[in-house]
């Protein structure tokens, strides 16, 4: 099953896909643009992977990492489908990152690879933005690059794990203003989902709602104010984000 969390007419609703948009739990049918889309689940700890596709690591001139390159993102950075993300006027390289997001269900620690998939509740699409201009070599990737308001786009749907037969063979792509700029497949993950769950749970308890952003393949390009950025993963969803300028925020 796929479900979304949306705000409509004074309340927050669970919703399911419908030919004409969405069907709210209470039966109302509404258009995709008529609601405010929130992250489709209650987000816990956001655990992001860097350099987890072999080709992307080459693109950014890094060799293979043995320990997964993990960084954390805060809840303030989360934004849902069809949201606005700010591009500061002094940025020259702000890029998207289309990622398969794996949502933890059953909590655990010291989870072995063989048992890991039993701890996955479901999946969604993520867009893990970065502004490279602000990159510094202290606790990389630093917060000003990766922990910005609007920098973690999640949605539109939470897809139950039982409905994703092959998380390891999903096509993903990004389109900027309708033109494909990034393409990949989750088969190219350097550290796969069970490995990541085993690694992380070895030192930190994973709790329901924790989400692992599993990395992005090559093809990250700069986006500008006015762009529509669509990150999509076959069978999981098509996540839309709008890049806006400082003036939108009165800056």
């Amino acid at each position: 099953m796929k479900r979304a969390r949306v705000a409509y007419a004074g309340a927050i609703h669970e919703a399911a896909p419908h030919d004409r948009g969405l069907r709210l739990a209470d039966g109302r049918i509404v258009a995709e643009e008529a609601v405010v889309w929130l992250a489709p689940f209650e987000v816990g700890t956001i655990i992001a992977l860097g350099l987890n596709y072999a080709d992307h690591a080459k693109e950014l001139s890094f060799g293979k990492q043995e320990e997964p390159l993990v960084f954390l993102k805060g809840p303030g950075s989360v934004i849902g489908h069809r949201g606005q993300t700010r591009r500061p006027s002094d940025a020259t390289f702000m890029h998207y990152e289309c990622e398969l997001a794996v949502v933890i269900g059953a909590p655990g620690r010291h989870i072995r690879k063989a048992d890991a998939m039993a701890h996955v509740a479901g999946y969604t699409v993520a867009n893990d933005y970065a502004i490279r201009d602000y990159l510094e070599n202290w606790y990389r990737p630093n917060a000003r690059v990766k922990n910005r308001d609007g920098g973690t786009v999640l949605g539109p749907w939470f897809v139950d794990a039982a409905d994703v037969a092959t998380p390891v063979q999903l096509n993903l792509r990004t389109l900027v203003n309708g033109r494909e700029t990034q393409r990949g497949n989750t088969r190219d993950l350097v550290h796969d989902i069970p490995s990541l769950i085993e690694y992380l749970s070895g030192f930190m308890t994973l709790n329901p709602g924790d989400v692992i952003l599993t990395g992005t393949p090559e093809g990250v390009v700069n986006v500008n104010a006015g762009d529509e950025v669509v990150t999509e993963i076959d069978g999981i969803g098509r996540l839309v984000n709008f890049i806006v300028d400082d003036a939108t925020f009165g800056r």
């Binding site: 993990v70 809840p75 606790y139």
Partner: protein, 237 residues
């Protein structure tokens, strides 16, 4: 951390569970790196605040225990003043920043010691129970948050005297510079940062941290594999 430990008697009444730490905010700590800051891999001293998240599995309360991994001889005590945000802080001017602070608490940001600050592993700072938070005290009950004495005890022995001063970014400036690009929400905690010369402690030892005006925070370290105190590893609701 037990849900009851998240609440306190004044607005915003409840910790959000989000805790941000800052590295190298103590001027002597940055100075101690000397010219290494200009060499690879850093290539320049930090410009923006060097932030990290202590995720919710790390949150623990007074009297908790934190497990020391078997391959590590000791954890570093990260004694810090933690500012509890009371009002949403987005693009706050420095002169208004302290009004966003509802109160403060003693926080021990325990870490696996590490020498490189380039891209350290998340496992150094994200271990269960490694963010111990003391009682929240209302801001009006504190003198200057940048002029408080700090005392750290291991097994009852005073091992470090320091203070909350000499910060490159005092609390108001830190809030302003952080909130310029990331909004801080009510109940969030922003750490002022640990002083240079932080002591270490081993499994089996007790730690106490006193910060003037904020009381005393006691907790302990145990060897991994020993039954931990339930409150140290319970996920918060």
């Amino acid at each position: 951390m037990h849900p009851a430990q998240l609440t306190f008697g004044f607005a915003p009444y409840r910790l959000s569970g989000t805790v941000y730490g800052v590295l190298l905010n103590h001027a002597p700590a940055l100075a101690a790196l000397g010219d290494a800051v200009n060499a690879a891999p850093y290539k320049a001293p930090p410009k923006a605040p060097v932030l990290y998240l202590k995720p919710r599995n790390t949150l623990a309360g007074p009297g908790s225990t934190c497990a020391v991994p078997p391959d590590v001889p000791a954890l570093q005590v990260g004694a810090s003043l933690g500012a509890v945000i009371g009002r949403t802080a987005c693009r706050v001017a420095e002169r208004d920043a302290l009004q966003c602070v509802a109160g403060c608490a003693i926080v021990d940001d325990l870490s696996v010691p590490h020498d490189s600050f380039y891209r350290p592993s998340v496992r150094f700072k994200a271990r269960d129970g490694s963010c111990v938070i003391g009682a929240v005290v209302g801001r009006e009950r504190l003198r200057d948050p940048g002029a408080l004495a700090v005392r750290i005890f291991v097994d009852g022995e005073l091992v470090q005297r320091t203070d909350t001063g000499e910060r490159i970014r005092p609390l108001a400036r830190l809030i302003a510079d952080v909130s310029e690009f990331m909004t801080l929400a009510p109940g969030d905690i922003l750490l002022l940062g640990t002083a240079a010369g932080a002591p270490t402690a081993r499994a089996g030892q007790t730690i106490a941290i006193e910060i003037d005006g904020l009381g005393r925070l006691e907790h302990a370290l145990v060897a991994a594999g020993e039954p931990a105190h339930a409150r140290a590893t319970e996920p918060h609701a």
